[in-house]
Amino acid sequence: MNVAGFLAAQSLNALSQGAILFFIACGLTLIFGIMRIINFAHGGLFMLGAYVGYSTVAWTGSFWASLLFAPLVVGVVGGIFEKVLLARLYARQDSGAYLMVTFGLAIILAETIRLIWGPQPLSVPIPDRLRGIVLIGNQPFPIYRLFLIGMGSAAALLTWQFLERTRAGLLVRAVAQNAEMVHALGTDVSAVRTGVFALGCAMAALGGVLSAPLLTAFLGMGTNVIIDAFVIVIIGGMGSFLGSIIGSVLVAFVQVFGSYYFEDLALAMMYLLMLAILIVRPGGMLGKEE
């Protein structure tokens, strides 16, 4: 067997997995950066994205339509949730209250999805243009996974450019630094919060839509992915955008190579990595120590 080819294929595999993880971790970390909220419902919103994507494909027959429609729907759901429920808690300044309310939402989302779409996993076909394989070295590699890597990289670049180069991005960073000051300067901070929350939810939904053709849409997917995403943002540093990219890739590599080389430790590898990093740097790789 060609070792280099194998390693290349596995690395690409890990990168494509990292791309999906990035979509959820990036939204999570953006929301945390602005609002100091860890959104427990993020996995549920990721799952909602996958299911709405499934239905969109079923109605319109177009995967590309689902890439637009699902994030839109989930973004609106997230925005409403923030406006109606979370906004009531800001005055309390209690991070535990956020955790609990979003946990409640996670339960409600999972149950609502089960009631609407039923308990069976739903498979979403890979769109025609992305079907098939390419040879890397002499290892076959699915084109769809290359597409995922492309989407993940594009999303990372776009988000970065948005934060650094646009006026809206500047506002987001300013609110993260000092919300009161931004408010005093005449900006509607609560609108920025709602917007960022909706954007983060929409990103999670996009990740859900993209993962459905690989893994189907199933009821446990939100749980699986939210735990991974928590580990990523802790490794990368809470609220650090660059940290969420590095964390996603790192966790994906540990998952892919861990399950190959340390089969019986595969499940534990990710947590061991996290503990090792936290013992050295309690705030995560790029985070500030609290």
């Binding site: 946990f103 409640g104 339960i107 009631l115 534990a268 996290m274 013992i279 309690p282 705030g283």
Partner: protein
């Protein structure tokens, strides 16, 4: 005070009628009490120290699995086996507490969650001992010590659980009203200030996490011979979430509240899950409503309602904190 008297009467009534209760009811009550103990242990962290743990299932699972293995392999008498299981769990809890308390706030919550998930993963890693996804079944309730076989029956086991809950309650009451509890309240209200007063807050936090894990593992240890089997789901994060909900809905920052929350949810769940499929949905909605509208929980609402004539004396921890603020 009136609330406590009503409660004491209810407890006495349950204890008195236990031998004549239908077997099914008795089983349900026993399970509810185990969850009450589990919720109370978590509240030492959440309500008294404001350390939000999202991985308290780790304590429960540790207690359950170590007791299961001890009862299966060492043939110790039932109460001794349970105590041994708790002792093992406490030893494991010390390094966990040490690592988790390096972080605060949300990171602390995520770390506790990670340890619970790590425990879940380890069950699959050490299949030979833990049975992997099958769990461990056929756990005995050995007689003894001194040939005592009272705890083997349903009624006896109920009294054992009730005794453990009562003993833990007394232990926690002493703890939270002691100077130790006052420091915990100080950490809850303002950790930096408490540290500036010369207290080693990290050591206090490690201590309270270990105690909470110890009592949580006692709940898990009691669950093992009660159910007769253990499964990896005991470590699952939904268990951690459920017990957190019990604490908050029952009344965080009190000892009775979480017990009420645990009992309330086990009973309600049992009744409603037979009637409606929508139960988990209602569960989530009730939880959100309590967090937003009534953060003081059922017990808080109840004491406010009952406190019509005389003001209820608050516990020492809360007095210290309100004096500080």
């Amino acid at each position: 005070m009136r609330g406590r008297i009503v409660l004491a009467v209810i407890v006495a009534l349950i204890c008195a009628t236990a031998p004549i209760m239908p077997a099914f009811t008795l089983t349900l009550v026993t399970e509810a009490l185990i969850f009450g103990l589990f919720a109370m242990s978590l509240d030492l962290m959440v309500g008294y120290t404001r350390l939000y743990s999202f991985g308290h299932a780790a304590a429960y699972g540790l207690g359950a699995y170590s007791t299961a293995l001890i009862l299966l392999h060492f043939g110790l008498p039932l109460p001794i086996g349970i105590l041994a299981g708790v002792a093992v769990s406490v030893v494991i809890a010390v390094p966990i507490a040490w690592v988790c308390t390096r972080s605060t706030g949300v990171s602390f919550a995520m770390l506790t969650l990670a340890f619970a998930q790590l425990g879940y993963a380890m069950l699959y890693r050490f299949k030979e001992f833990t049975g992997g996804s099958d769990g461990i079944g056929g756990i005995p309730r050995p007689a003894g010590p001194f040939g005592l076989d009272f705890f083997q029956g349903k009624v006896g086991y109920f009294y054992l659980v009730m005794f453990c809950l009562a003993a833990s309650f007394v232990l926690c009451s002493v703890l939270v009203t002691s100077p130790f509890g006052a420091v915990l309240a100080g950490i809850r209200e303002n950790e930096a200030k408490t540290r500036a007063l010369g207290y080693n807050t990290r050591a206090y936090k490690i201590a309270v996490v270990v105690v909470a894990y110890g009592l949580g593992s006692l709940a898990g240890a009691l669950y093992t011979p009660f159910a007769g089997f253990v499964a990896p789901e005991l470590f699952f994060w939904l268990v951690s979430g459920r017990v957190l909900i019990m604490v908050v809905v029952g009344g965080a920052g009190t000892l009775i509240g979480p017990i009420i929350g645990g009992v309330f949810f086990v009973m309600l769940e049992h009744q409603l899950s037979e009637v409606t499929e929508l139960w988990p949905l209602a569960f989530g909605a009730i939880f959100i409503a309590f967090v937003i509208l009534a953060p003081e929980g059922i017990w808080g609402l109840l004491t406010r309602y009952l406190r019509t004539t005389q003001p209820e004396p608050r516990d020492a921890g809360q007095e210290a904190s309100s004096a500080a603020s």
